[in-house]
Symmetry: C2
Subunit: 474 residues, 2 copies
């Protein structure tokens, strides 16, 4: 709790000061109040102010003059440019990312590697004590039942908790609308299997979550890439155009905090997306993996909340917010529910029961919202810190995404940079990154990397980003 | 422990007395020693003898004359006939069992139904206290690690335990040969996806485990059925012949205690099966789900133990022996290992970690072999009890499999019987059975049912079997 509050206050203080500088209230050369004075004025802790001053100094807004205090720098940092909107092929493409992605995954598995490649927050920032306690008491209370099958759709109290949570997503789903899966991965995989077969074309975002591309490849399907606006999400004009010319079988999209770009689609666009696909009779597979991790404001609605005819299959999990290793995800499959239920039953006979029990019990207990607040503040602050460090250390011309939620950054290096070489070189130095080319078929994004900013900031992280920046410039 | 020993002694006593009657040492009309006397002579408990006498009476070997004692009956029961070897089509067939199997599964899910349909032993006979204890201590000891991903292949200590156990299967696999899956279902599904695609023909046993048929159907594949000898397993002559005429892409077989027939293939036949398929370049998917549950003698070898070129993918799980709800299974995929690893990674990103930890810890502790001995004795005795009850209550002409391991019986009713009607009628009376037609495409086995004899014998079970017999005769 202290951590969450402090993180929030610090982020607020940083943003406020940045605002004062940017709107000229604090002009170049001005001396800032002393740390103690500012803390008193704002009624916040000295450490909070210290931290805020330090990050503003790191970001080039302030400079420290020995014995004199903190001053607004004369040359403010240039506002970083947005990522460019990618050009994509107007043809369906075969996918060929699995081999490379497997190499990348092997790097994620290695011990003693700083995991800036995996989009996986470390367990240390998860409420592992509370979750373990819930797991233990659930197993004890249920006795022999914790060993028995709960055939799909899954453990009933968990289904009910999901139904309750769906109100926050803008839906009003019932327990009967869900199937529990082994994480969002299995949910997406089942959805693809439910609606398409080998040779079929799936519309995807470009860049796309590479795990989805691997599934598509392994299922023998093809993709049609849709360009992404770096902050608004998939281009719906491009999708509308593609629907006229290409026989698309399904569409996968992540309107909330897309991985890797971090974009957030507006509600109006979500509604347009859902209507467009519904009218064309093309199922939408919505990946809401990061939906609970907004940096600011309310939890965004899901596209599914605009679904009138069951055409949207909503997939998500607790892997980014509670426990990746519990493998608790779900799908609310609309008109495909029965088919998904069967596929889940035949392909794995249900998910592990004790971890479903633990998550259900944790949710019932009411600790999830509080934990989310802490996590969102933490990720917001870290995204800023990582972002500034990348802009400082990477070669001139590097652009970084401005995610609005989640915990990944998408880094566009100058055209000459080779992300695959960077991946190899970084791994030799004990750092993993995700090279851009696994986020698209056909070799796009060779000068991009994705960074996991879920790893708590430390000197080691700072040094790793400096190392990456240096390697990127070579 | 007491239970296991008593179960074994009782089964031994029953078998010994049956032998004495069958070889004429005890002739028709002979009076048996009193319960007390026989207990003293054999140095076993009075209750054990009582139980043995009672079951022999149930089976028609003995009769009790009030005030006089137990006598060998004049008319011994006819030795029941073996199941017939089925005739199968010589063409590849589309599979269409999923709809019906889903209806059957829904029955398994209902509360307050005696689960004689599901091939799932009840959790009450599993070592749930010990497993829960291992789960709790594993979660406590690993701290935050129990929340983190263990990407495929899976939790290392569990992989090492499997490698050690593989010696008992006649193999010497290493930890690196395995991928942990969500039960054997996921293992089989991944194997099918690894080696075949839509339209491909899979050679299967007839009758086959219906879960495998559902997967094949959902993956758009076809089957070629091979007749099963009721005690020796898949007809290899039929397979050899089929390989000459049909383009078969893979073969699924269960040499050890096949579900539903309970047959055990000889080692010579296992070797022939492996050679035959290897020579033809056709992968063998071996389902060893029930391999640990031999009624007598040593744990049988797996066909994989004859594999020289990595052509065999061995699949199994702890679902029938420890904890179905933990979803801990595995595949040792031979030359398909890398492909399986990728498919597992992309389709579900690994299995739940805490349950893998619990099973690994349980195995390390050394309690598994002891538990298996208890379970095998129990299932052997129950298979006999269920079998005799079916022969007693079902219409004349009914035949029952003589399983050599596992905990299911395959019941062949007279031709006029309608298993699907029996399924519906039984369900109305709170009893589930598995109707034969889900074990084969194309409507075979309409007069068969599979019974789960893993449910501990009780008056309720006895009455249920009497009810089923009555319904079957209607």
């Amino acid at each position: 709790m202290a951590d969450g509050t402090e993180g929030r206050l610090y982020a607020q203080a940083t943003a406020r000061l940045k605002g004062l500088i940017e709107n000229g209230t604090l002009a170049a050369g001005d001396r800032l109040p002393s740390v103690r004075e500012y803390a008193r004025l704002q009624a916040i802790g000295v450490n909070t102010v210290l931290r805020a001053y330090r990050i503003l100094e790191d970001q080039g807004y302030l400079e420290t003059r020995p014995q004199s205090g903190h001053f607004v720098r004369r040359r403010q940092p240039q506002p970083a440019k947005d990522l460019r909107i990618p050009e994509v092929s107007d043809k369906a493409l075969s996918v060929d990312v699995d081999s490379l992605a497997t190499r990348v995954f092997e790097a994620f598995r290695r011990p003693n590697v700083l995991p800036l490649g995996a989009a996986c927050p470390p367990s240390s920032i998860m409420p592992w004590r509370a979750l373990s306690r819930h797991l233990v008491s659930a197993v004890r209370q249920s006795g022999a039942d914790s060993l028995g099958y709960y055939l799909p759709p899954g453990y009933e109290p968990l289904l009910r908790q999901l139904a309750r949570r769906s109100l926050a997503w803008g839906c009003a789903l019932s327990a009967r609308d869900f199937v529990i899966t082994s994480g969002c991965s299995e949910a997406l995989n089942l959805c693809l299997m439910a609606v398409a077969g080998p040779g079929d074309v799936i519309a995807v975002e470009s860049p796309a979550y590479f795990g989805a591309l691997q599934m598509i490849e392994n299922l023998g399907m093809k993709v049609m890439e849709m360009p992404m606006h770096p902050r608004k999400g998939m281009s719906l004009d491009a999708l509308e155009e593609a629907l006229k010319h290409v026989r698309i079988k399904a569409c996968i999209a992540s309107p909330n905090f897309q991985n890797p770009v971090g974009s957030l689609m507006s509600d109006a666009d979500k509604e347009r997306l859902v209507r467009l696909l519904s009218k064309a009779g093309i199922p939408l597979i919505e990946d809401d993996t990061f939906g609970d991790l907004a940096y600011e404001g309310k939890r965004p609605r899901v596209a599914k909340s605009f679904d009138r005819d069951g055409n949207v299959q909503l997939c998500s999990s607790f892997s980014k917010t509670l426990a990746p290793g519990y493998r608790v995800g779900w799908v609310a499959g609309g008109r495909f529910h029965e088919r998904l239920l069967r596929l889940k039953t035949t392909s794995s006979m249900g998910s592990a029961v004790p971890t479903q029990m633990a998550v259900a019990s944790f949710l019932e207990d009411g600790g999830y919202e509080h934990h989310l607040r802490r996590l969102r503040t933490l990720f917001a602050s870290q995204a800023g810190q990582y972002r500034e460090a990348v802009l400082r250390h990477f070669p001139a011309g590097t652009r970084v995404s401005r995610p609005q939620g989640g915990h990944v950054l998408w880094v566009e290096m100058p055209e000459a940079a080779d992300a695959l070489r960077l991946f190899d070189q970084a791994l030799k130095r004990g750092i993993s990154v995700a090279p851009g080319s696994i986020f698209s078929p056909g070799g796009r994004y060779r000068n991009f990397i994705r960074l996991n900013c879920g790893v708590p900031w430390s000197d080691k992280v700072g040094e790793a980003l400096a190392t990456l920046g240096k390697l990127a410039g070579e």
